[in-house]
Subunit: 471 residues, 2 copies
């Protein structure tokens, strides 16, 4: 067995691992990156990037019109080009250009060299032993398959498979009304597929305030999607050449394909974590501290062991992974700072788009904060009047005692763009009265912010007279 | 002559005057609003609103394609609907519903009642004398006509006339490459008019950093606009049924119509300001303090006299006027605060859009600040890769000694939306290192901000080692 020693070994080269590897190598560290799959993770090949390419193409198709089959074929080409034909050689080259050594294979932690508590960590990949003073786990997440009877016997897709396939089903059932389910419902419905979107919860995007899911459901229905809320699929089976899904308490649905988008789970099994005293929680997530150091069962950080991205279970987005990658790189390079997740955005790239940041009023109240909420219809802004506001709405959540903006949620055109201002405001703990005094360009979407902030500011000034307190 | 007494008289009911009138009336004050033109000013009828409606229609036409004449006719209908057919009855009703009395006519200040220094101000409108303890001047601005020989003898348009006309000239010369000239060049060129855009300065949008105007010129040229920079029109004359513009040092141009968009001037003449000791400056602007109180020739505020909007010459945008309206209303209602213009955005709604806020590096250096500049191509972001970045670029300006963000400029898709974050950052005097630590949604346009902020933060941290100091 070959043994090699590095400053840093990265297990998993998704968005987070890639950033740490590149930054540490650029600063002169010796770095090895281990991945059994594509270098670059899932985002560029089978997740965010191809789905966003399809969403853009779908939106243009709806605007421009034309034949569905032809437009879909063109969209698939655009998707696959954006996904670099699922070829990771560019990502490999970029890392190698930074000086990172790439090892293809499954990496397994094997404790510390010589078993000494202060020694390097050891990662085994096939015939190689890689010693490193720091190891970053960035193994991502994997789709959760719901325990539905018969599901294994019918043609299903994961989102990864959907985003790699040229097929445009005649009828498609999507299980799960989270971000992925909603985005792909919009894509396929835009290209003429009959989509039925099945969500067990009483609303879409269950993590966002109620108005968001309700309005997104309305927009998807307008596009022709059959949105079924509170829908429990009890079994699946063949039905001629098609698929029949049985629902609890309502008529079943017959489709040609089932897309399973019922969530993901941190990929933390079979990594040898137990050799360094780490046991993932029930969700599979690796607990980390503010420097992304992995915590052992006794909640103390394991020397030299870090985790970034979906495997931490903190906020399963590419941008969280990238951010955590920067946090770890800064820590390793001596300019460390604590991660602050307060301003991490939650964006859904449907049309209308969805953007959320920070806390809901309910969450704030649950921790005893006197939270105030106000909102505005985007149709009541000049931009909405000019461009159409597609059922858009913005709501802000403020701490009545301090005036600090705690959270913001919106659905509406371009919400992924103009809501960035509110993410920054949450992160910088800005007072809503400053927001109320900020000048927004006429007629930009962000003009919606001012009247809401002004009303909240007045309520804070009046010391929360009219405020709704914790339940 | 009838004499009536009010708490507030507003001269000019544009965006600023309208806000003060409505807010004071809503709070129970007696308010009279005087306007010789349309209630609501120019923005809703013959300026921002119709031009933005046309820009949206033009963009859709370019995307969707189709016959120019038909698409233009449809765009003109959309424009005129957005401009409420230039009928101000809705605005009148809105103000009246708040309890504002509207007087049609020219208002003239006539000093103070009885000539006593502590008495009400007096405004005369025809046969009426209006006494008020506060008067707000919101008379706006008017187009400046350049002194070009023969210009009065050829068919010209002001932007107001262009935005009211159904005509689509075969060939159109636009004098002036500011925001209005660039926006209307894009509109007409999109609908097939042969546009020649003549700007005397060496670049378009002379108030923004060089890269902005250069890239906008490239985008307009790609659309077919003949952009001529450093172009001096020396004379205009009839040429058959058409117009010939003579240029200094280059071949003339022959067009069917000339749109004059060479800037505007505060409308402060013939208002009787001298009766209260006020003399507008050379630019025509009324000097005001941070509460929008008009300053007399001796720089002391004139009791009870305020000005808002273009007539103050501060930042000639609807959103500045509205903001100043809120500042005056708050002052009159006892909750006064000083205006802060640091975060006032400058948006141009072309495609690519332009957005600027705060100071340029040159301006900061001129006042002795050690200013650092960094930028990024929007094509280097994930969103640019997915959606096309249309020559987009972002630049940030930072104070090397404090890290504070001083200014930001961008050109690129949706810059009017996603740059709001930077306007807030300038207004809130946020440190660029906080911006560098802010998480942006993948793949949103605002991801461009992070690497620029990070580079600037590193330069600030290294105490400006590599910084370019004041010249």
């Amino acid at each position: 067995m070959t043994e090699l020693t590095y400053d840093l070994a990265v297990l998993g080269t998704g968005s987070g691992g890639e950033v740490v590897a590149a930054e540490v190598a650029r600063a002169g560290g010796t770095v090895v990156a281990v991945d059994a799959g594509r270098v670059g993770g899932e985002c560029p090949y089978v997740a965010c990037v191809p789905s966003k390419a399809l969403l853009l193409a779908a939106r243009e198709h709806v605007l421009i019109g034309g034949e569905h089959a032809k437009a879909f074929a063109k969209a698939v080409r655009r998707r696959d080009t954006a996904a670099r034909e699922r070829d990771d050689s560019g990502a490999v080259r970029r890392l190698q250009d930074e000086g990172v050594q790439i090892v293809r294979g499954r990496g397994l932690l094997e404790g510390r060299a010589g078993g000494r508590a202060d020694a390097d960590l050891v990662v085994v990949v096939g015939e190689r032993r890689l010693r490193a003073s720091a190891v970053v786990v960035g193994t991502g997440s994997e789709p959760v398959r719901p325990p539905i009877e018969g599901l294994d016997d019918v043609p299903t897709w994961t989102s990864e498979q959907a985003l790699s396939s040229p097929e445009r089903p005649k009828r498609l059932a999507i299980l799960g009304g989270g971000a992925v389910g909603c985005e792909l419902a919009q894509v396929y419905a835009s290209f003429g597929t009959g989509v039925v979107l099945l969500e067990a919860a009483p609303r879409l995007l269950a993590g966002e305030p109620g108005f968001v899911g309700e309005r997104l459901a309305a927009a998807l229905r307008e596009l022709g999607v059959d949105v079924r809320l509170g829908a429990k699929v009890t079994s699946a089976g063949r039905h001629g050449g098609r698929v029949r899904l049985q629902l609890d308490g309502e008529a079943g649905v017959i489709v040609d394909r089932v897309l399973v988008a019922t969530g993901r789970r941190p990929r933390s099994a079979d990594l040898g974590l137990e050799t360094v005293g780490v046991r993932p929680g029930d969700t599979g997530a690796l607990a980390v501290d503010a420097r992304c150091r992995v915590l052992a069962s006794d909640a103390s950080p394991v020397a030299g062991l870090f985790a970034v991205g979906d495997v931490t279970g903190i906020a399963p987005y590419t941008h969280t992974a990238t951010y955590q990658g920067r946090i770890v790189a800064a820590h390793l390079l001596g300019g460390g700072r604590d991660a602050d997740y307060s301003g991490v955005p939650r964006a859904v790239y449907t049309h209308p788009a969805v953007f959320g940041v920070g806390e809901s009023a309910e969450a704030a109240r649950a921790r005893g904060v006197h939270a105030l909420v106000e909102g505005v219809e985007l149709a009541d802004t000049a931009r909405g009047f000019l461009a159409g506001a597609a059922g858009g709405r913005l709501e802000l959540v403020v701490d009545a005692s301090t005036g600090a903006l705690l959270g913001a949620s919106a659905i509406g055109p371009d919400a992924d763009s103009w809501m960035g201002e509110l993410a920054l405001a949450v992160r910088a703990r800005l007072d809503v009265r400053l927001l109320a005094d900020q000048v927004h360009a006429f007629p930009a979407w962000s003009e919606a912010i001012q009247p809401v902030a002004a009303r909240l500011g007045a309520r804070v000034d009046s010391q929360g007279d009219h405020a709704i307190g914790p339940a």
